[in-house]
């Protein structure tokens, strides 16, 4: 119990500097902020070491696996990508609800129902053809951001990669909010709650692993280009990660909406 309190206190302290105070509307506040500018490092030395480790693992394991996956016939890759996206939409749905975003919750639920049935467990995506084209992805880190929680400081986790204090809390929250985890989680079976004896946690981690491989395979060239053209790859990744999270929390696809333009405005060259 005491340990739990200590952990919670540490997280609260780390989050404190960036907490957006009550009264603001969360995502709107972030939409006009430059949160990536104010995100400090928690422990840069440790993070750079973890980044190096992850980079090594990527070169030795993840990239070759992604390249192998990429060599599979296109329909297999596309079907696999669709299945994991379909399962992932359940976590999105939980977070749509928590954010009070019922329009997108309806869209996510509709997509899941159509693709799981007509699309045969999500292999195909007939929902898009029926007009439900929006494929938003939400997680608990984004939900906390939408509620107004600041990002806290930035660090890199082994294997899992870049994160912030808020997003790492979100990672834990995702387990509780992801129906796929509950269905595949053994301990729930003993309690007679959800769970399914046909599955185990391994199935859950296999699904998450497949999702990561699919993502890595789609970004082989982008990552190679980033590696080749960065003077400090660690900082490049940090910048892109934080920019991306700001976008996701604001549900925006335009950098202009989430970044401060004043730095550009003051530069005149003609």
């Amino acid at each position: 119990m005491m340990r739990k309190i200590i952990y919670i206190s540490i997280f609260v302290l780390l989050l404190k500097p960036n907490l957006v105070m009550a009264g603001s509307t969360g995502s709107e506040e972030l939409k006009n902020s430059t949160s990536q500018n104010s995100t400090n490092e928690c422990f840069e030395g440790f993070s750079r070491a973890m980044f190096k480790l992850n980079h090594g693992l990527d070169t030795a394991i993840f990239e070759p696996v992604a390249k192998g996956y990429r060599a599979l016939p296109s329909p297999i890759r596309k079907g696999t990508g669709n299945i994991v996206d379909n399962l992932r939409s359940l976590l999105t749905f939980s977070n749509n609800i928590l954010q009070g975003d019922f329009r997108n919750a309806g869209n996510t639920a509709g997509r899941f129902l159509i693709n799981s049935t007509v699309g045969i467990v999500g292999i195909w995506d007939p929902a898009s053809a029926l007009g439900l084209k929006e494929k938003g992805k939400e997680d608990f880190g984004q939900t906390m951001g939408a509620w107004g929680t600041g990002s806290g400081c930035y660090f890199v986790l082994p294997i899992l990669g870049p994160t912030t204090v808020r997003d790492s809390v979100g990672l834990v929250g995702n387990f509780f909010l992801d129906p796929v985890y509950h269905v595949t989680h053994n301990s729930e079976i003993h309690n007679g709650l959800v769970g399914n004896s046909n599955y185990s946690e391994h199935n859950y981690f296999f699904y998450r692993g497949t999702s990561s491989v699919d993502f890595r395979a789609k970004n082989i060239e982008s990552w190679a280009s980033l590696e080749k053209n960065s003077i400090d790859l660690y900082v490049s990744l940090k910048s892109l990660y934080l920019q991306n999270r700001s976008q996701q929390i604001a549900n925006s696809t335009s950098a202009v909406e989430t970044q401060n333009d004043s730095n550009w405005e003051e530069i005149d060259t003609n």
Binding site: S225, N229, I231, D232, S236, K238, A255, V256, T269
Partner: protein, 197 residues
């Protein structure tokens, strides 16, 4: 006879000018750059040829000086004129190297220009879509076009899937300077090393 001679000279001049001038309409301007780039990025062209031609396009269409100021942030105010001159020279080389390297990896890209949004008299964002292939997903690309001189728009930033490349560069530059106790000249060394790679 003299009149005809002048008309011919005028026509030749106009035609030559038009073949090098880009549209003043930001959307059309980007479309023209994309069309020109597509012709260069055909598989049959060598990397050296692509690099040379892309550099020529960048020098004409990108506000490299503006991007250089932006990426240096407030540190630019600490530089002497001579240091600034050195920085601008290094930045141009650095920029052309990364710009051409990023693009030469693409072969015959299919990009649709979708729309343009005027942000202010100085900026217009042109939205485009790099179409997906069997192996790569489609990518939204936004071009921040500097329109202070409405007759000569210039590109200042590429925003890929909402991620600003100029901002990522700015943060890298800041990190190098901060890691060296605020010494901007250390950035020059890093840039020289990168260019020489």
């Amino acid at each position: 006879m003299k009149k005809i001679f002048f008309i011919i000279i005028f026509l030749i001049f106009e035609l030559t000018q038009n073949s090098f001038a880009y549209s003043s309409d930001p959307k059309q301007f980007i479309q023209e750059i994309i069309d020109e780039t597509k012709k260069i990025l055909v598989k049959s062209n060598s990397t050296e040829f692509k690099t040379k031609k892309l550099s020529e396009i960048a020098l004409k269409t990108v506000d490299i000086k503006g991007v250089a100021y932006y990426t240096l942030g407030n540190y630019r105010k600490e530089l002497s004129d001579k240091q600034m001159e050195e920085y601008l020279d290094l930045f141009e080389k650095y920029f052309l190297k990364t710009f051409t390297s990023r693009l030469t990896d693409y072969s015959e890209p299919k990009i649709d220009v979708i729309s343009a949004e005027v942000l202010s008299p100085k900026y217009t964002i042109v939205k485009s879509l790099l179409l997906g292939t069997d192996k790569k997903p489609e990518v939204n690309i936004e071009w921040r076009v500097y329109t202070k001189n409405p007759d000569k728009p210039l590109i200042r930033d590429l925003i890929i899937e909402g991620l600003s490349l100029a901002r990522a560069e700015k943060e890298q530059f800041s990190s190098v300077i901060e890691a060296n106790n605020g010494e901007v000249t250390k950035l020059f060394i890093t840039l020289k090393e990168f260019i020489a790679k």
